[in-house]
Symmetry: D2
Subunit: 437 residues, 4 copies
């Protein structure tokens, strides 16, 4: 055990990392608005000596999904600066480009190894009761209706710890290390735009990691995760024509009925024989008044599939249903893709190597090869691309004794697991930066 | 009274007309299959000296609606010949052209006066009980599932009586008389094709007449009829793609669901502020087996409107709904127009003149100006065209003590009213053939 | 003309009435919140010497429909007092009882004559442009999202002018005069509760009047109005059960789908052969998040019928549809009747007498017997009851050169017509208080 | 190999078994109509010395599903007798009881071992082309619209071969052998009624076997089958009230719209998180004429679930949807359960023993432990009951080089596999009749 320097590094700097995580926890920023969070990371990574690319250089504008309004971005920028963000970075990121890639090119002898962390928060109001540690210890969210309820504060802390560890040991390493900090994972909105910017096109070994997914118990590391479903999030708007319902109903083009017909027929899309296929119309708002033929309707929809093909089948059928319903009522229909992720594929060979290493480190009570998680994760875009290009990739689950489910107002991680996370990530990346190409 | 020669003519030939009507009643022929009926009329009209145009000369092929199969036509031809129809006429009419126009051109001094009669029967099984006169007297239908249950046997009898009366008094008359014998009024399938062949384009005075419409009581004549609704009859076929419902549901294109969605949304078409608007999906048949995604669906639909505009609104909306539903399920949709009629417009001035004349004849207990009937009548196509071209037209109701509602197996007219009908029709046409142009 | 004292009265006090109307216009109060409006009327009517009953005495609590929240009432009370309302009346009206009846009992020799005015405002934001007189002259609405856009400010002004005129001429009159000031006509919410309190049970002659209904042109009086449709306003809530759409969809009870199915099938309720039948689902809001099975849905619905029977047919069918849709999804459904009005019946004999009188007054360019209005008006509840009890009743339309349709932000009346309205109402009531019983 | 006497037995009697199978193939009889088939079996089994129970003794009347009409049964009885069925058995079976249980009680020293075969045919028109062996060799179906397209002719042949083998070797055996011949497996209609009659309540070892299920290749034996889905077959009738669509639409109770609403909402039943859940509305027929409000609608529905719970969820939801749709349109709804089967559970220990034995026999190229089949099989009712009562049960798949999928007009088995089937069944049953209890 004592041979793993990353363990000592993580433990020696424990207090500093916890302080950092708690500061991030107090200042949660939702997707595409992570100005302060990203600015802190940028300052730190340049200070450490990384070559930094931020904003449009690493985010393909057209592939971004589910952007907030410019007004919301502007307010977030101002708040970030008022809370200490370096204005240089805020300006560099601009409107809706709150991600970055930090690169350490050591030499050409080794492979390109990448580690990705997501940095956004959730639209959750944090619990303020004494049984919730952040509240008790005074580091709960200072931001209205925002909370780090999915552990991304720990994700960024581990990423920065990893960056520090790697650069401080670079003499013994080869190749290139890329740290990818991705905005807007919540709603699966951000990864596609970074993938489309090509940030993982040259990667040989890719690692992602999530803290505390439900089936992975405390103090364990699952070396790859199955069961993230492919998903698409759609916002739909029907535009019809209003008319007085009593005086001239025939002049109306009823958006409410178009939306209702769509909702029923979306839900009636046939099952797929190749696996779990889901669709949900979660929200429908239509109409302006009791005696007016409704001229607008809004729907929020998500599709999920056990494989990308199954999800694509549902997505394609959903478009047919929506367009058919609009045609029925002579409505215009606008479909906006607000987020998406493919199903998650891992390189089993890589995961097995990680398993051997992690067991050897002796940090964890249990090191299973696989975890089966539900939900969706847009990191899958990176894994898919790396594997397509001949690299290897895995998405690990770092078990933690979480106090409540993810996205719950009482969600909290055990910071001890975060410290272990820095140690194991350091050892993994170090290992692959030692491989000859 | 004694001054009306047509009254004496009708009464003197009473037995002959009744014999003719009973022969027609025994040999009912549904729409587009009236080979024997039409052949009898054609023989009689040429014998009388009329110039006769039959079949394609007076029926525009592309405008015919709701045609039976060629097989059904062939069988009807064979039966007609076996029952005494002149093969010459059967051949002349050919497949689906069972109408004719008989013209008597007297001189150029007078107007063109037209009278229209419809000649087809209903798909009704005639009552065989003793309280039904045709059964009791032995002249009920000899044809399977066919019956003159709407009085068209009387209509043709009156038309031929009228033709005989007019030509026998032609010396005293001027202008041109046209007798229009129209097939396939049931289902409003035949008039449009004759109108489109131009048969009323030159008409100055046009008369249609129905025996026994419900609100017109016995022994009366209503000089024009309001309330026939504009209507369209649609047959619809959805064509999808079948697949095993358990093994590969995703490969199916569900025609049953397309049809169900269409049915609901057709019924949900908005009311129209300008008057009564109706739609009915009367029949829906879909699917082949319990465990197969249905690949076909058939619907029978009718729309009605208080005005042509209202009906056109419903018809247009129905097409949108059907096409939208097909698009939803990636189905092909085939919409066939099986019948149609406009709302009925009359020339009030002409009706008032008819009223004066009919009162003067002293034949009727009551001669109201208007009757308000329901349902639809494709004679309205002729009235509309005549009035568009500057002529005058009216559709009269000849009251009769009918024994049961139209289309009922016990329907029967009072033949005395039919004799009166010949008298009044003779007097009316005679009157207008005396008008100088 | 000079014989009508009410004409001189109206003209002599013209400025005072206009001032009153403009004050009311500046302080519009929506239905059930007319505290200031009613308090001003109550002060004035007691001052004049009327016997006043307010609140629960004249409003049957259980029959009130479409009440705002108690919080909204409390705020309205406070605002009314801060704007000068007499706290005594505000207190007397309490929560949701903002109507009153002012009675002048002269003697037992004459009949009971009633006049009704409605006093509430609309949820409309008043236009502030110079082409809108209230804006230009500085008397537009001071209240947020409220405007007198249906002329009820003029209605109350006329009512108070009438009250003043009658009491000042009572020496020459007999019988009893009742002035009914009704809250919450908008949404047809208030009349039923006053009818159920019995306020018109003893009335022999009943008059209602509306200013400026669309087909009645300026400077005219239509002596009765046809075509107000029977109507019912329904608020519907579906309560299902939420569940995570991906993790456990089978546990959900989908309120959104129940509501969509209801909406489609409500719209598909069959037409009625006895006249115009309408239904509109004007608003549908359902669901809380994209990935949650929706557990709630809210609908706003209205039904209309050419007769009470037709409306009752639609209302009954709507309940069946809503309950069936709820049963389909194991939802609870709560249906609240938010407003209703019967079709409007008038006493033609009374209207004809009014016509003679109004023509004789010489005030109007035109005095048609009838106007055909659309929409609905809950004054119909009063007319229906008076006629049931053997009295006579009519609802008149006072034409005015309105600047935009009712409920439009630019709606404005011509105040000259309001002055004429006081004159004609005075003359009418005076006339019937002279009739011997 | 030479030690398995059943192999020699099967091969020695090969021609006789093939002749029997081909005779059965020529005389296919659909479910509940297997009079000739069953009579032949009954004759043979009594001849062999089995104790036979037929008809009501082994079939619980109330649990039978999807019965044909009595008229159809009568015709089938007459045909069976005319084709050589022993009238004694036809009479014994009566209306709708075409199953039997043949019992051989040897002694009380051994267990009760049961083998089940199904005997009904499919509603398929057999191919008559030369590439279809039964046509080429002259033994294709003599019955109109009936064909053994699922191999049940081979199933019965194997069962009778097994019966012959066991009774001819009974001296060496112990315990009791029960041969269960089940009618109406197609549509999963017959097993439940035999289970409810208690025919497997005393069984210690139960075996079922199907020839040629798709994923089991030729010349192999899969020792248990997974993936038969639980299923329910429903026939549904909506009864409304008809009315003329134009004249009095409000009097109708529209069964077509009730059925369409049901169809859409059935298809929209939520997925289940515990596995594959399917529903199909395969057939919908509604309405009688274009201008009549439809008063009847018929649907054929099936539900499937990966587990019994999942299927039960869908079935229960389907009832809610159907009853809700009926309530919406004030229709009566009649739901008939036409067939059902649970998901298939096997005793893995027993299957493993069978695997060892079958491998040892050397008859098969491959002997996998499991096959994963789709579809449904009501034999699952027997397995479930046996296991509930503490016995063991397995459902085996006998691979065969089938020429076309099951239920296809060209379906044919390889008779060599049937001979092997007799051999392996004989050895298995023999083995378990040697076990001490």
């Amino acid at each position: 055990m004592s041979t793993y320097k990353s363990i000592a590094f993580a433990n020696d700097n424990r207090d500093r990392f916890i302080t950092l995580r708690r500061d991030l926890h107090q200042h949660p920023e939702p997707g595409w608005l992570e100005y302060r969070t990203a600015a802190i990371a940028a300052d730190r990574l340049t200070e450490l000596g990384y070559d930094l690319k931020v904003g449009k250089e690493v985010i393909h504008a057209e592939s971004r999904m589910g952007l907030p309004s410019e007004e919301a971005m502007k307010q977030a920028m101002e708040r970030a600066i008022s809370e200490g963000a370096n204005p240089k970075w805020v300006e560099a990121m601009g409107y809706g480009f709150t991600g970055m890639v930090a690169t350490l090119h050591i030499d050409d002898q080794g492979p390109v190894v990448a580690f990705r962390a997501d940095i956004d928060s959730n639209d959750v109001v944090e619990a303020q009761t004494d049984d919730h540690l952040p509240a008790k210890e005074g580091f709960s969210s200072k931001h209205d209706r925002a909370m780090h309820a999915c552990g991304h504060d720990a994700h960024l802390t581990m990423a920065l710890g990893l960056a520090e560890y790697i650069i401080s040991h670079k003499e013994a390493l080869h190749g290139t290390f890329k740290l990818i900090l991705q905005p807007a994972e919540e709603g699966v909105r951000g990864a596609k735009a970074m993938r489309d910017a090509g940030v993982v096109d040259d990667v040989d070994y890719f690692f992602g990691m999530h803290i505390g997914i439900n089936k992975a118990i405390a103090n364990c590391l699952a070396c790859m995760n199955f069961g993230f479903l492919a998903t698409t999030k759609l916002d739909v708007e029907f535009k019809g024509y209003s008319s007085h319902a009593g005086a001239s109903p025939e002049l109306g083009k009823n958006a409410l009925l178009a939306a209702c017909t769509a909702a029923l027929n979306l839900q009636a899309i046939s099952r797929h024989s190749k696996g779990n296929s889901c669709i949900n119309v979660g929200v429908l708002n239509a109409g302006t008044g009791r005696n007016v033929i409704p001229d607008t309707a809004y729907l929020q929809i998500e599709t999920r599939g056990e494989t990308g093909d199954v999800n694509e089948y549902i997505r394609k059928r959903a478009y047919e249903v929506l367009q058919g319903a609009a045609a029925m009522y002579d409505n215009e229909v606008i479909i906006r893709e607000m987020g998406s992720a493919p199903a998650c594929v891992n390189s089993e060979a890589l995961a097995k190597e990680v398993q051997v290493l992690a067991k050897d480190m002796g940090l964890f009570r249990d090191v299973p090869l696989t975890n089966t998680g539900g939900g969706s994760e847009d990191c899958a875009y990176f894994l898919e691309r790396v594997i397509e290009h001949g690299g290897q990739a895995t998405y690990m689950i770092l078990g933690s004794d979480i106090k409540a489910p993810h996205h719950n107002p009482r969600f909290d991680i055990d910071e001890a697991d975060m410290i272990n996370g820095i140690a194991v990530a350091g050892a993994i990346v170090e290992t692959y930066l030692n491989k000859t190409k």
